[in-house]
Symmetry: C2
Subunit: 688 residues, 2 copies
């Protein structure tokens, strides 16, 4: 019955996504210039995704073969049967993740032209077009996640296999996020450097050869990458909860049902929230977005309580889910403090920019570091509280404790359908703003899209904090799933069980230290990749201005596609080593120090990963908004020294907040899942 | 006998320090201008230290009262007797630490004038003057550390009390390092911003009112602060090893003796290395510094082996000490890779500076993040190897394992007398270079001091890596000491013992997350402090140029002392909240989650602290050397766009590498010691 409910909710979400998509398609779209540029962007985005997916296809094929041979059990130990099930789940997860990104990207590039044209008519319909375009993504992603996990349980009746589905989703998300992130920032930095800084032409001037790549980047990085990222978090939170629930139930029981019911109720709440969303006459887009989030949250609280009463689930686990929901909101609000231009950090950074770029940078690094405190403490408190609630003051078993934490993660991610809808709205209206500028749709349309865009940025800061908080709790739950999987394997081989991962054990400590180093190296590789790639693209833009006669005067068309190709090829070249490094180090640590070292490795990876992801996202967001604050006429305004300094800060922040920061989340998830699935190898073949 | 040997070694070190000091005093010093400026610097440094110590005196008094009332046991539980012993040790540690800083600073400000004047004669004697000035510091610090710990054991016969001595040393070091770090970078940034950037006058131009403060900063930050820092690490490594040795011996036994003998042998090796150091005709200062380090290391290997054979110590622990020594050297060499201008990272950063400051900054952040990998892995491998060596493949008790790790820390820190001598040489010759420039001692002297200075920078990169590696192993050992202290208290109250800190326990995980956030917030507070303070000092320098007629033309004298006062007062205002925050959060975590949460807190603190300290030190060093590479005529040379960008990078790096980075080490140590001493309170009065 719980599986049926989850299945129905998924199908409802797909139905809504289809309806919203056709609604968007029906919006007026008759401006030739907008459509021409829009189709350049759409073609560019497709080119990128096609090339990316064709390379990732090979990667997934290789991974599938390795899974069939070795995971969860090597072929010479008779593992082929179980391995084939896992491989099937893995491939499904990868395909679903790719599809979710592709659909979202297609709809987003359809909606941006229509939002731009609606903006000429007024705020209300432009808002709705942008929002509903984003909601297609939200519904498709969460529907696919819930349906996929349901199907895996329906066919295989084994929660461990959902970890394979989750790994398929997250390994693809890792590369989609990192590759898209490198691409988008390559294009953004190169377009800004040559356009704004060297030539002094506006942000979206069509004479700039990198400008279409920049718009493509918004779609492949922010829409497709973000969708893959949250797909992966949602699947991972469900998988971790299911593994722990099955350990408690001793198979598929009431707690497993509860996970599905809560997932279904969350999706239904999001569906209603999406349908209800509109911009009232004279209302602000920010409060329209927020009020639909509040509607969804309120509905979830009520519906999940009703479901708990109806099915007779444990109220303590319901409380844990509520703790997750509340703490997620608090983390979102605190990260808003560090990136909101009405608050002290952004204002200080903008003011100090007048003293020179060094002060801008030092401020951003400092506030970024300080911003990790509320979020890390929030995640810690959520873990502790959900544990205390579910187990009382006296500790129960580790599995009880961890299932409580995993329910907090499920609670936090319950409204993810709405979060994604809000998040995908951002790049759509950002693109629409660019289209309005490039196609000269007039000042009124520009004003409308400016306001829509600014709402997108505000909401984005909150949802980003939310996403990191959810990922934090999810990976803690995945650590629990790793322990369960480890003990299942150890019991099977009649080896002594592992009770936990004691930091006083030097193997665990070794793992902690190495695990902590991985996200640092991973983000360094991505950021250096952006540097190198932007360097290449700047050379290309310079070449075009040098060689194409009349380009500077706007009499000749730049070769947009050359820029897209260069940025794409560069991004793909840079992303593979970073992703592989994280996976390979996991195996090296496992083969050296065995299960205790891997447990420490995962914990170190989580801690340093959350720290760096929060630091980079918030520092980057702060620099971005400090620049906007100066551009709005404060501390000297555009063209002042403060502005130049703030632009430098923003450029530094770009790869932090849009490439490295959000990819780290996915890196942690991938490594946690790889460890859980390869635990049999570490149990049998480690050096110490 | 072991105590006697340690005592004799300390007295030998003091004797050598006295002889070196009088040797330095006897060097020619008849240039009036050099002496005049030198005495300005010396007065400024004394002013700073006097004000700092008078505030820290109040802090230490408050801490002493709190210790007498509450630590290790509250007064109403009859703790006064034990508390008085601890308080006495605490005060002695604080006084010794202050004295070590004061002596080092006095000698350094005596040596810099003489080094400057010797530079006019030639390289050989200038090198020796600078080196021997630094060695006074090295000998005084290590002698005081060993003597202090010996005295505590001699009088109280209880290794736990050495933790109090260690806390006295480290709590003073925390403020000395942070206060000195804020002061020095305040002055440096302000002097550079107004001098080099706005007015285009050379680095050490006496017309710049902030220039004396800048030179004072080199002494109070680099000499006094660094001395206090390494004093604290050395004491902490000995204390942690002694606590664990006593737990193994069941009191004062052979392993306790071994710690003292190894400490004494290390100091004797350093004494011989210092005496042997000289610059051969035509040799380079870098290789002279390195060869004296190699001499010391080689002597330590041989002498410690002889001592092990003679006293019949356990060879396995000797091997663990050797592992520490080797890994320390490897960490030093790898951090050199990221900051050496002959290697790829610095060259890439310098080259990319041509594209603008954003690229300089992104490179530095990226390489800084990547640089944490070898060091963290190195510390992890040292922990794992020393554990495997001492316990074999099959784990022994936790205490065995941790004692092995603590011996690796002792081994790594054994040659610290030589490390400090090399380190203190750096700021002395840097100051001498400034004096040569300010007093116009001629091109030859400038050339000599330039070469001496560059050797100082090269050696500094290695010793900094070494210091962080040593601190890393030391704090792991301190975590072990915390566990021992916790169990001693729990046993006394007949409470169940703690076996370790399992990351799967939500209280431990809560601690891990909060502990990881603390170094981030701590460094943010210090760096924002530098920003605010530099802002104040820039205003003052502007005021002087505006109000003092003839200053710009060099016809009037600036008010150097006003700048020193402003930088001092600002630094003291900024340092207190950061230090207190770290200590208060420790108590909050302890009172909420009890001993498991504190164990997790310490582990999280260590991991994130090492990560951030390495990131900041290496990124800062890289930016510094990239700027120097450009200034040496590469990628456009001085005055080019690349140079401007590189200067911005260097300014960002300054508070990273000289304020926040090195203070984090001390922050971790202080928190670990506070936790160990307050463990009785957490055992009895925690919420969960």
């Amino acid at each position: 019955m719980a599986l049926g409910l989850a299945c129905i909710a998924s199908l409802l979400a797909f139905g809504l996504a289809g309806w919203l998509n056709s609604w968007v398609q029906k919006q007026p779209s008759d401006n030739q210039e907008v459509n021409r540029i829009g189709s350049l962007i759409q073609q560019g985005a497709r080119t990128f995704l096609r090339r990316e997916y064709s390379i990732l296809g090979w990667f997934a094929l290789g991974a599938t073969i390795l899974i069939i041979l070795f995971l969860p059990r090597p072929f010479w130990l008779g593992g082929i049967g179980a391995n084939l099930q896992l491989a099937a789940a893995y491939v499904t997860g990868a395909v679903f993740s790719g599809l979710a990104g592709y659909i979202g990207m297609t709809v987003a590039t359809n909606s941006n032209t229509r939002t731009a044209q609606a903006a000429a008519q007024g705020m209300g319909s432009a808002f709705l077009t942008g929002f509903r375009g984003g909601a297609v993504m939200g519904m498709a992603v969460v529907g696919a996640s819930l349906l996929g996990v349901t199907a895996v349980i329906f066919f295989f009746r084994d929660p461990s296999i959902t970890l394979g589905f989750s790994l398929g989703a997250s390994s693809l998300a890792l590369f989609a996020k990192a590759g898209g992130g490198i691409f988008t920032k390559t294009a953004d930095i190169a377009a800004d450097l040559v356009g704004k800084v060297e030539l002094g032409i506006p942000e979206d001037d069509p004479r700039n050869p990198a400008v279409i790549a920049d718009n493509v980047g918004d779609n492949v990085g922010d829409v497709a990458g973000m969708g893959a990222d949250l797909f992966d978090s949602h699947v991972a939170s469900l998988s971790a909860a299911l593994v722990l629930a099955a350990a408690l139930d001793g198979g598929l029981g009431k707690n497993v049902d509860m996970v599905f019911v809560y997932g279904a109720v969350g999706l239904i709440s999001s569906i209603i929230g999406v349908i209800a969303a509109r911009l009232n006459q004279g209302g602000s887009p920010t409060s329209a977005l927020n009020s639909s989030t509040y509607t969804t949250t309120g509905l979830y609280v009520v519906l999940s309580a009703i479901a708990t009463a109806f099915f007779g689930f444990n109220w303590l686990y319901w409380s844990a889910a509520m703790v997750g929901l509340i703490v997620g909101t608090i983390i979102g609000i605190t990260s808003d403090y560090f990136t909101n231009d009405a608050k002290s950090p952004v204002q200080q950074a903008a003011r100090l920019s007048g003293q020179g770029p060094a002060f801008t940078i030092i401020s951003g690094i400092s506030y970024g570091l300080a911003s990790v405190f509320p979020a890390l403490v929030g995640i810690g408190v959520a873990a502790l509280l959900s544990f205390v609630i579910t187990n009382g003051i006296v500790p129960g078993t580790i599995t009880d404790a961890l299932f409580g934490i995993s329910m907090a993660a499920v609670g936090m991610l319950s409204i993810v359908g709405m979060v994604i809808s809000n998040d995908a709205y951002g790049p759509i209206v950002d693109n629409a703003r660019g289209l309005v500028e490039m196609a000269n749709l007039g000042d009124k349309a520009l004003e409308v899209t400016d306001e829509l865009d600014s709402a997108g940025n505000t909401v984005k800061a909150i949802t980003k904090g939310f996403a990191i908080g959810a990922a934090g709790l999810t990976v803690i739950a995945l650590l629990g799933a790793f322990l369960e999987e480890a003990n299942a394997v150890l019991a099977e081989h009649a080896l002594p069980l592992v009770e936990g991962f004691d930091v006083m054990n030097p193997a665990v400590f070794f793992g902690l230290l190495v695990g902590a180093a991985v996200p640092a190296v991973f983000s360094a590789m991505l950021m250096l990749g952006v540097n190198r790639n932007a360097d290449r693209l700047v050379d290309e833009v310079h070449r075009q201005f040098r060689e194409i006669k009349g380009l500077r005067e706007g009499k000749a068309e730049p070769q947009y596609d050359r820029c897209i190709t260069i940025a794409t090829e560069g991004a793909l070249k840079e992303l593979i080593p970073a992703g592989l490094m994280a996976i390979i180090v996991t195996f090296v640590v496992g083969f050296i120090g065995g299960i205790p070292a891997v447990g420490g490795f995962l914990a170190g990876n989580i801690i340093s990963g959350l720290l760096l992801a929060l630091f980079m996202s918030n520092a980057g967001g702060m620099w971005d908004n400090a620049k906007k604050l100066v551009e709005a006429g404060n501390f000297g305004g555009k063209g002042s020294d403060a502005h130049k300094a703030a632009v430098i800060g923003d450029t530094v922040g770009d790869p932090c907040k849009d490439t490295a920061g959000p990819s780290i989340n996915t890196q942690i998830t991938v490594v946690s899942l790889v460890a859980s699935l390869a635990v049999g190898l570490f149990a049998l073949f480690s050096l110490f």
